[in-house]
């Protein structure tokens, strides 16, 4: 009943907004407020939810593997909050946050994360967990890459034999990693054998399977999809002795409230805190699909892990790098924050 009342409120509010749009400008704010109060009252009517809402933009691999279905309910219970999860590719998730439309992101492309941090859109990045990528392909392995110790060599071999390779082509974390490997292999993938398909990981695996092609997959999604396809792991990732270039670390980054004052920063920090807490890490550690662990927590460490907070190439020896002790930096703080008449 409560839900239907909310629906009706929403319908009425939206009908009014759309009906009047283009008539008068000043008629709009009350309607927007209307819609807002509609959803507010709706969520407080809901069973376990409350006033606090967190918008999480994340990669499809955390969502489709079911990991977030384990983590989010516990967080919601603990913090009396509702998490709105938007599963996108890493590129799209970062873009959503860059526009201020998410409160926090959970993604896996360190290069793009660093960019996001450098532009000032994200603050307080934390490492959360990792797994690895694997190069998969048909069991008969037409290019003959099975067991190769270098992912770059395997890619070069695939290119040389012009065996079909399916690329996500969607700016996702996996796609970014794939391009990184092509870069390392010194091959510019082009030709009819190289197919960018712009799909998610699961359907990319299905398509690769159907067309007898190679592709790069995160281990989690591959394990979760394995029963539906005939592809096999031909080059292992670092979890099983493969090359380190196939590492797949995930990071959580709250959106900078100085850029977007309306983001729910404290709840975003609470979320980052929860994921990196012993409790959150334990949930990640014990999450399995068909008996295989998909993600390995790496947030807990007794020794400091400063690298996770700053971009990878951040140079600590540089002039004003150690910002908190730099005189120039302190003078700037005073100039910006202390009123003239103090």
């Amino acid at each position: 009943m409560a839900i239907q009342r909310r629906r009706f409120l929403q319908a009425a509010g939206v009908g009014a907004i759309l009906g009047l749009s283009g008539c008068t400008g000043d008629a709009e704010p009350p309607q927007a407020a209307d819609g807002e109060s509609g959803s507010q009252s709706g969520s407080s009517d809901g069973s376990s939810s409350s006033d606090q809402e967190l918008t999480l933009a994340t990669t499809t691999s955390t969502y489709d593997t079911g990991l977030l279905d384990e983590l989010n309910p516990v967080f919601e219970e603990k913090f009396d909050a509702t998490v709105k999860t938007i599963p996108q590719g890493t590129g799209a998730a970062i873009e959503t946050a860059r526009n201020g439309d998410a409160d926090v992101i959970l993604v896996h492309a360190r290069g793009a994360e660093d960019e996001f941090l450098k532009e000032g859109y994200g603050v307080n990045r934390r490492d959360v967990m990792f797994n690895d990528f694997v190069v998969v392909g048909p069991a008969d392995d037409p290019a003959g890459i099975e067991g190769m110790e270098s992912a770059a060599d395997a890619f070069a071999t695939i290119a040389e034999s012009e065996a079909t390779f399916v690329s996500r082509g969607d700016d996702s974390g996996t796609n970014k990693k794939e391009l990184l490997i092509w870069d390392a292999s010194g091959v510019d993938p082009a030709g009819k054998w190289y197919r960018e398909i712009g799909k998610g990981m699961g359907d990319t695996l299905v398509q690769a399977d159907q067309s007898g092609a190679y592709t790069l997959s995160d281990r989690g999604t591959f394990l979760a999809t394995k029963s539906k396809i005939d592809l096999e792991i031909l080059v292992q990732g670092p979890l099983k002795g493969g090359p380190t270039i196939l590492k797949n670390p995930y990071g959580v980054i709250p959106v900078n409230p100085a850029k977007y004052p309306d983001v729910n920063y404290s709840l975003a920090m609470a979320y980052a805190g929860f994921l990196t807490s012993p409790e959150g890490q334990d949930i990640i550690d014990s999450y399995t699909v068909d008996g295989s662990q998909l993600f390995f927590p790496n947030a807990l460490s007794e020794s400091p892990q400063f690298g996770q907070y700053v971009p990878e190439d951040y140079d600590d020896d540089g002039g004003n790098a150690s910002a908190s002790v730099s005189d120039a930096q302190f003078e700037q703080w005073v100039a910006e924050n202390v009123p003239e008449d103090f």
């Binding site: 939206v14 927007a32 939810s49 599963p87 998610g200 699961g202 359907d203 309306d262």
Partner: protein, 230 residues
């Protein structure tokens, strides 16, 4: 239900409700705006009428993803309407589906209204009817085509996936109830996971829904009010 794997009933019911709610609201808004528009265009003669008609029909070919991107830009916190915080809500989805459904509705309704014989309008005027009377008469005569317009708009809205995925965000709460996930965007999730059978089963539900709506529309259309044809 076979094919639906481990999807639970709450989830199925709630994504179906979101689909129905968003599409129905979009069609209602489109009808409220579109039918008067179609009447106005058809009753008035003005310069460039042919151009206006062509522009409206062109709208039927709007790629839904582009509409989604435009609505995203408009509603984003960094966009012009950002302060209303409508992005990733059902309202945003209604807005984008309205943009998609409106041209379909107006175009089909327009051709239905225009096919009402001029003699009939003239006769109605001659027997002392006001322009409102004439409009009502014409709408009643064009009833068949107007219901078809509504159904076509509904079909466009409920089967659409590109724009609602972008502006809705495909959100499901952790208790399994949908906030902005529709049957169509749920299908994309299943496709992405490689669960092809489940995706097709969801498509079956969607088709059954469209069939039900069409049956309802057909009943309404074929009901003969006094003075109607057939």
């Amino acid at each position: 239900m076979f094919g639906l794997g481990d999807l639970n009933l709450t989830y199925l019911v709630s994504i179906t409700l979101v689909s129905l709610y968003v599409s129905t609201a979009a069609v209602l808004v489109s009808a409220t705006l579109g039918l008067p528009m179609a009447l106005a265009v058809s009753f008035r003669d003005f310069r460039g009428k042919a151009v206006v008609t062509s522009i409206i029909s062109t709208g039927m070919g709007f790629p839904s993803v582009v509409v989604g991107l435009l609505v995203l830009l408009a509603l984003s916190r960094s966009g012009p309407l950002g302060e209303f915080e409508l992005l990733f809500t059902p309202e945003a989805m209604i807005l984008s589906q309205t943009v998609l459904a409106l041209p379909v509705l107006v175009s089909v309704a327009l051709s239905a209204i225009q096919s009402v014989p001029q003699d009939l309008r003239d006769a109605a005027f001659a027997s002392g009817g006001t322009s409102t009377d004439v409009a009502l008469l014409v709408v009643r005569e064009a009833r068949y085509g107007i219901v078809t317009a509504l159904l076509a708009a509904y079909g466009r809205a409920i089967s659409e996936v590109g724009s609602v995925l972008i502006v809705g965000g495909n959100i499901v709460f952790s208790d399994g109830t949908s906030f902005t996930r529709t049957l169509t965007t749920a299908i994309t999730v299943e496709a992405r996971k490689g669960n092809i059978e489940t995706g097709i089963a969801l498509g079956g539900i969607l088709l059954a829904l469209v069939l039900a709506v069409n049956a309802l529309g057909a009943r309404f259309r074929d009901r003969t009010p006094s003075g109607g044809r057939r």
